[in-house]
Assembly symmetry: C2
Homo-oligomer: 343 residues x 2
DNA sequence: AATTCCTTCCAAAGCGCTTTGAGTACCTTT
DNA sequence: AAAGGTACTCAAAGCGCTTTGGAAGGAATT
């Protein structure tokens, strides 16, 4: 039987007010009193009743999640991993989720309902597209939110956490170019998603710096499955002028690509170089590939946890977080990259 | 500005009690009065405040989800699909989720914390193993739950929803046997999960009925990815006595298997027959395969929605649901099955 | 000594719902 | 006509927290 505030206050010989204030960090409480309160909390295992807090404060202590159910996105491995990060952090702070599966065409209605219901204090969105309308929607509904990724075009002043995808693939491409590669292929994610757009841009930029141009035939867009990686790579290798290096937008894609390369009898790291973006999926570690993969690394789960932190911090008005974060991916050298082969 | 109960009662010239009772289906309310109340609700758009209900009733109106984060399970496509079903139903009833990512070794502690927190009224679990200890744990904690799947061994009286996996694969195998196949391979899910165990059992039983024995070399267990399907099939086809038919535990596995078959220059439905279990993943429809797949079908999303319904019904004491449900999978004939080839 | 101002604490009023314990009016039964 | 049901409705007491509007006591200022 858990103790409540009243009992705790009685135990301490204080009023509920004082105890509540001590716990919530109000200044008008003697430091010593506060220490006593905290001590009592530890002893009794007191935990404030969330339902009562919700009622008293009007806060929901919940965050809304609009799960996209569109092909190429839904039920995606990467989504699950991100979700785990979000949840890890949320559980820590005793926050709930409201999961809203929604087809793209219902998104606006879903947001509207969510905002009106008062069931959530903030919302999280991802899988940004160019000129993504959701940012404006959420602003109009004036419900706090954080996006994972960034739009391209549209408003610029909104809270996001993104990986510097352009930079990551620029760095990766630059490395390949330095190694003498000039025909670099790209196995990318879905074409309409901004992270794909930016990764391609990074590659283009690195090539341009050396006066090279990206051959559009060497770029494939698809959902990030092993199967698509395999097919893309196969098609690249069948060309009369196959690439000597390839960038993959995910280790999942790389898995397929590697298979196609092996099957073609080519050696990774010598005949052909490969760099993949590593989301740090526990199931698929680049160091465990038969030839360990050079990667640009940025933890998806970490991003999930961070976004939860920001969302929760915002709701509780505690902690001070930047409104926009651009995480730099690390470029980690392993054995899958090497000098371009002679022609 | 949403109306609350007090305002609604005033509007109607009734007391809050009466309105509340009218809404919650208590018998001691005049039918006409109740109709008036419902009409007013419709007009004003009144929605009871969940926080207040939580406080007053002591219910959390939330369900706990312990997300397994073990390899071969976590971030799995099938999990996302199931989750979408759960969420669809939950959102309808304004229920929240508490997502708890947890490694298997922490599961007990996670359950305990969840039960003690009072943050959830019920819990959902899945990915049942043989003699799964979680059933006993949840019973001991006396927190309501529904499991997706069934254990093997251990207590038998617990609430579950499962697909008749034995029956499904028995039916599938029987069809193949009737078509003259006697060497049937199985590309199965992870070995320790009960659905895999039961599917194998279904195959064994069908074979046994005709005096046939399952060749253990023709059974592979793995995480249900396209890649694993491909490799398994490849290995089967390399054998001196390859199977003439194969059962796949998921259309995802089938995707890889089909690829291996095509690559070997074999024709599906004539040289080799294939039946897959279809979880009705929106991304992967068996009718869209180059040769449409014969399948045993049972919607994962549907199961998710059903379990949410039962969980919620149990919490609200409304609706009457069986405590144990065994869904029969449909066997749907398409072009991937045909008579066994002559030797 | 009287006044003002902090600091520290408190009593009590909500937040919006459910539920208990009556109360009223109208029928039946004796 | 009194007693007992029945059908309907209500006032008020919580649920456990936050927060408002003081109040008590001591220190600092006049």
């Amino acid at each position: 039987m858990p103790v409540n505030l009243k009992q705790l206050a009685e135990l301490l010989g204080l009023s509920q007010t004082t105890v509540s204030r001590a716990l919530n960090g109000y200044p008008e409480v003697n430091a010593e009193t506060r220490a006593r309160v905290l001590e009592a909390v530890r002893e009794t295992g007191y935990r404030p009743n969330r339902a009562a807090q919700r009622l008293a404060t009007g806060k929901a202590y919940s965050i809304g999640l609009v799960m996209p159910i569109a092909s190429g996105i839904d039920s995606d491995i990467h989504f699950g991993e991100f979700l785990a990060g979000l949840a890890e952090e949320a559980v820590e702070h005793d926050f709930h989720f409201v999961l809203n599966p929604s087809a793209p065409e219902d998104e606006e209605a879903t947001f509207r309902r969510l905002a009106a219901s008062g069931n959530v204090d903030a919302v999280f969105i991802a899988y940004m597209r160019a000129n993504d309308p959701r940012i404006e929607m959420l602003k109009a509904l004036s419900i706090p939110f954080v996006v994972h990724g960034r739009s391209i075009g549209g408003p610029r002043d909104y809270p996001f956490l993104d990986v510097d995808n352009t930079g990551a693939f620029y760095d990766a491409a630059r490395l390949l170019i330095q190694l003498g590669h000039d025909r670099i292929a790209l196995i990318n994610g879905p074409e309409h998603l901004t992270f794909s757009i930016r990764r391609k841009k990074g590659l283009v930029r690195a090539l341009a710096e050396k006066g090279l141009k990206l051959d559009d035939a060497l770029v494939h867009h698809s959902a990030m499955t092993d199967e698509h990686g395999y097919r893309s790579m196969q098609r690249f290798l069948k060309r009369p002028d196959p690439p000597t290096a390839v960038l993959c937008s995910s280790t999942v894609l790389a898995l397929g690509a590697v298979r196609a390369i092996n099957q073609a009898g080519l050696a990774i790291g010598t005949d052909i170089s490969l760099i993949a973006h590593d989301d740090v999926l526990p199931m698929l570690k680049p160091e465990n590939f038969s030839v360990p993969l050079t990667t640009t690394r940025s933890s998806l789960r970490g991003a999930g946890a961070r976004i939860a932190k920001r969302l929760i911090g915002g709701i509780l008005n505690q902690g001070d977080y930047p409104e926009q974060e651009l995480w730099r991916a690390e470029l980690i050298l392993r054995a899958s990259t090497g000098p371009a082969p002679d022609r």
